[in-house]
Symmetry: C2
């Protein structure tokens, strides 16, 4: 009962967090002269992150790993190629496949970018940081389950779930 109230309170704070962070993100992007925006949890950033954990994936593998359509994936990869952050090359074993590799510049970009710690974490104590990490772990796992279950599990999709579980190990 009171649990529900607590859930509502947290839910409100989460909406607020989403909104304010999004706003802050937009402002940062506006003020940033170079359009270097790569929020790492969408679009090109997502691809980069995936490759940093597992270089040399094919476009198709990227798409299934990231739950994107092949077309979206192709679009992001092409943009990254233009920026010299990744390379595309046809596989010799299966000439249909295109294998994507990070360039040095790409790897470098990920390193500098992912080492940035958002300012707002500095207001938290050690104890709070531990709590947050712990809570987010639970939430993320719950979301992974949601993702795996939400797709009508065709016999084919089942094999993809295995891949999706790797996703889980990215951020350890």
């Amino acid at each position: 009962m009171s649990n529900l109230l607590k859930q509502k309170a947290a839910a409100g704070k989460l909406i607020e967090f989403g909104m304010v962070r999004h706003t802050a993100d937009n402002i940062a992007q506006r003020n940033n002269d170079k359009n270097e925006h790569q929020s790492f949890f969408q679009g090109q950033g997502k691809i980069l992150l995936a490759l940093s954990q597992n270089d040399g994936l094919s476009q198709k593998e990227l798409a299934t790993n990231l739950d994107l359509t092949a077309q979206s994936t192709a679009e992001f990869v092409n943009k990254l190629v233009k920026k010299n952050l990744v390379t595309k090359e046809k596989s010799d074993k299966d000439r249909r496949m295109t294998v994507i590799h990070l360039t040095d510049l790409g790897r470098q970009k990920i390193d500098t970018e992912s080492s940035k710690i958002p300012d707002f974490l500095e207001v938290l104590s050690d104890e709070e940081l531990d709590q947050l990490t712990n809570i987010l772990t639970k939430i993320n796992n719950s979301l992974y389950d949601e993702i795996n279950n939400s797709e009508q599990p065709t016999l084919f999709k089942k094999s993809q779930q295995i891949i999706k579980d790797h996703f889980r190990d990215w951020f350890l």
Copy 2:
């Protein structure tokens, strides 16, 4: 020192959270036959949320409140008008201004939508929910400060900060 490690851990989890939630969001949107997606922390949803706290704002006020350009705001408002969720009418006091009001349908939509509690909160204990709420409060406050400071504070901008502080009171 060890604080930095904890910050890094939390930062990683936060990136993961952003990514997985974004993915789950996209999937939900795909499976949803009607394209009723309104993530509430961007675009049209943001406007709706603002009006639910404070009906009858002008477009300009919405824009400053939400840190959007007047043009973006106009776009979202027009889309909402088409969906019969809000109404536009010229102010009598100042004929330049357009006052935006929620329709019954709009209010209804917000009610049903904002009463939804994300599934992933159900995996948390009462204690964890309290911790999360507490932590997010701190983080959000820190982000508000960031937003207020990040804009080159022209003399004019200063007056807007007052408005932005209202933003803060939305989710109590």
